[in-house]
Amino acid sequence: MDDKYDLVGFFLDKEGVFRSNIIKLLDGTAAEESASSISFAAGTFAAVNIVFLMLFFSQFAILWIERKAVARMQDRYGATTALRSLWVGENGVTAGEWWNMLPFGAGKPVGAINKWLNKKYGNRDENFPTVDRVNNRSWMGKTIVPGFFQNVADGMKFLVKEHMVPQRADKLIFEVSPFLIVSSTLLILGMIPLSSGIYATNPDLSILYAIAIFGIAPIGVFFAGWSSNNKYTLIGGIRSAAQLTAYEIPLLLTLLSVAILSGTFNIIESIHFQHAAGSWNIFLMPLGAALFLITMIAEVERVPFDMPEAEAELVEGWWTEYGGMRFGMLFMAEYIRTYAACFLFTHFFLGGWHLPLQGTIGSIEFLGLGGLYLLIPGAIMTLIKSWLVFLIVFVWARFALARIRTDQILEFGWRMLLPLAVLQLVLSLVYRLYLFNPDDMSAQNDVAGGMAWDAFGIPFFVPAATTLFWIGMFWIYLNDEDKSVAQERMFHVQTVEPAGTVVPGQE
């Protein structure tokens, strides 16, 4: 079902308010003949900017989610920097006075605002500098989303740092590779829809595009590792190249199975399929969802698959030599890739912008609750789902697991992920041919969604049976270990006679 909030339609619809007004404005001017093109360009510009800003600013949330969730997992508070900490300093002096470092006096207004804020709200008791520091973490004792602005502080720190290039580095490649990584990463955001009406671009083959763009950054990683002229970065870059094929091929096959099941290479249409089928893909292909998550964690180089930047043995891996804002940009690019991975999972497996139980709750007529439920914007739903995916999968995995070795991921990728991905591909083909016949599937644009999968006359049979089957398989996999060996390993600390019964040296 299309989302009600149609941003792109508002800006690009020729009869819509936006474009018709521009065309009307240009009436009688020299640009009258190309008024349609100009209004289209203006509409595209506006839509793309709004979508990118939404994606960008919502990214602050995932950094915050990671910091705070990790802190909870590790029994600590985590970052507590408040927005106020950025300008109110100790005794009226903010550490660094970063605004004075901006070029062309661009920071002067910030300095003026800071001066005023310090005068009005600052801590002025110079006898208690430590209390000031602590107070800066809150406003009148209340913390407002504590830690949310820590990333801003980190970014500012990166901004004012020196940019250093190793003396014997290949300077051109060293400078180019961060741009390669960051720009290709930003291009991923270009085709990620927030809902059916909020997206920057919507190419027909957006699934292929996403994967192709995802595959560019590892080349940049290899360049960066090689050009830094450092042995750690070299090993990191080569590791990145070595493990590339191990996870990229299962990832491609998984996405191919998504495309086959939904019968399209377009992200938005694959979401429409999930609605028309009446079930999110995660229930139709749980194996595919698991494979996608595992390979995506490897793709974005997070624990347990972060061998290229294994900080225990390789210091910081391929980005050891990058400092300052280049490090900051690479860091940001890594999180954008993670965020994009969460979006892709949401779209491919969690029904994109569709609300949970949309058909059921949406048809409640009591007090119009169903109608109220349907008023929730799809973009909000997409964001919430992506954040939850990030929190539950990416953050949890990162801080509960250890890092595996390169040879182990190669073995895991080739021996386990690849056969399973092929199996998923075959299953998708079978589902598509026998259960989701394209002739039965009409893109249903109503609230309830389709029942095209109504197999053997039993509704919900296919998703329920598939999910239960794979949960069972997973349970078997978990419990089908050689218990005798495992126990021997885990509980074989020898015990000898208790102390006191034997006098050592005299037995």
């Binding site: 990790v70 997992m73 590790q74 029994d75 600590r76 042995k231 750690y232 090993i235 590791r239 624990v303 347990p304 972060d306 061998m307 294994a310 900080e311 225990a312 043995e313 390789l314 210091v315 801080f399 509960a400 697991l401 250890a402 890092r403 595996i404 070795r405 390169t406 040879d407 182990q408 021997e488 390993r489 885990m490 074989h492 600390v493 020898q494 015990t495 000898v496 006679e497 208790p498 102390a499 006191g500 006098v503 050592p504 040296g505």
Partner: protein, 379 residues
């Protein structure tokens, strides 16, 4: 692929201190290693020659910054052997409790540092959280959190405070549950197992020949614990068993065996503490004033000419041995010679050679599993 030398250290996350491991790699495979030690040599043995016997204790605290109490105790036993002092039993119990608390803190520091070596950051903060409990307890005794200067020749500086016993028991019992929590997170994780098992084999025979001691050889099935074989304090009166691991492979102990033996050793330390605090003579909630004969015996300040003192102490990383020769040249107040045998000084070069044949990613896993500490290594 051409082989190359990589210099890991002196500032490198793997080193856990200040030393250099030079690794020759062929791709990802380690083909040769070379350990370079000596970055933080402070000359403690030489300094000791111009200090009183009492003044040496703080220097011995600083031999190892995560296990100060055991090293100070280790020196104290040698000094008491030299000066022929009878230590009150209550003081021995207090020393045992403090040393085992320190062993728990030290092993937690090891586990906490080992987590990031393998890639698990959560493990580090958890271990630091629990280590705080034991540092707080040690702070109640010694007044400090790192270098306590707590044991004295002939006893201990202060008695245990009133209420200390209750806090100790509560914390140890909580920690026994926490050990299970760690094992739930680590032993149930396949990644943890595949990173540790089958990696870093160290043969018992080789290790004994090289002089490696402590948990590292107990992991290979050698049932040698100085606390058990030559009980020095009241270790023969409390309820415990040395943690000895029977390696599953003929090649010897792998990283997992060493991890297991330290986890078991923490359990045994808990058991020891809980038993010792009940058996302590003079009552667990009485507080004798400083210098009371229950906790501190009179000790001579001068050693007779030609007398020697020796201690074989089970430190957290292995057997630490102190040898003191007193007197000489009429300097009765100072030792003529103090010699320290550090377990890690022997272990680190040995470990460097066991890494050959494994991957670069295994270097921190193997090195961390031996629990290096550079303070005692370089002395």
């Amino acid at each position: 692929m051409a082989q190359m030398w990589i210099t890991m250290g002196p500032q490198h996350p793997m080193t856990h201190g200040l030393w250099t491991l030079r690794v020759k790699v062929d791709g990802e495979t380690v083909v040769d290693t070379e350990a370079e030690l000596g970055y933080i040599h402070r000359g403690v043995e030489k300094i000791a020659e111009s200090r009183d016997f009492t003044q040496i204790t703080p220097y011995c605290d600083r031999l190892c910054y995560v296990s100060a109490m055991t090293w100070a105790n280790s020196y104290i036993y040698a000094a008491e052997d030299l000066l022929e002092v009878e230590v009150p039993e209550r003081a021995e119990y207090i020393r045992l409790i403090s040393a085992e608390c320190q062993r728990l803190a030290s092993h937690l520091m090891w586990l906490g540092a080992y987590g990031p070596d393998i890639g698990s950051l959560t493990l580090m903060t958890w271990c630091m959280r629990d280590r705080e409990m034991f540092l707080d307890l040690l702070q109640e005794l010694g007044g400090s959190r790192m270098h306590y200067n707590y044991p004295r020749i002939g006893g201990v500086k202060r008695d245990i405070p009133v209420g200390f016993a209750d806090r100790l028991v509560a914390k140890v019992k909580l920690f026994e549950k926490r050990i299970e929590e760690y094992e739930m997170m680590l032993d149930e994780s396949t990644i943890w197992l595949v990173r540790l098992q089958g990696v870093g084999y160290a043969n018992a025979e080789d290790m004994v020949n090289a002089g490696v001691s402590g948990p590292n050889i107990r992991a290979a099935g050698v049932n040698y614990d100085a606390r058990w074989a030559h009980p020095y304090s009241v270790y023969d009166q409390v309820d415990w068993e040395p943690a000895v691991e029977k390696p599953t492979s003929v090649k010897g102990a792998d990283c997992y065996d060493r991890y297991r033996v330290r986890m078991e050793e923490m359990r045994q330390s808990c058991r020891m503490i809980l038993d010792a605090i009940e058996k302590i003579p003079g009552g667990k909630n009485t507080n004798y004033s400083n210098g009371d004969e229950m906790i501190l015996a009179k000790a001579p300040t001068r050693a007779p000419e030609g007398a020697t003192g020796f201690s074989n102490y089970e430190c957290t990383r292995g057997a630490s041995k102190f040898y003191i020769q007193g007197g000489g040249d009429g300097r009765g107040k100072n030792p003529y010679r103090l010699s320290i045998r550090s377990p890690m000084f022997i272990t680190i070069p040995y470990v460097a050679k066991t890494m050959i044949g494994y991957k670069v990613a295994d270097i921190p896993a193997i090195m961390g599993s031996f629990d290096p500490c550079i303070g005692e290594t370089d002395r």
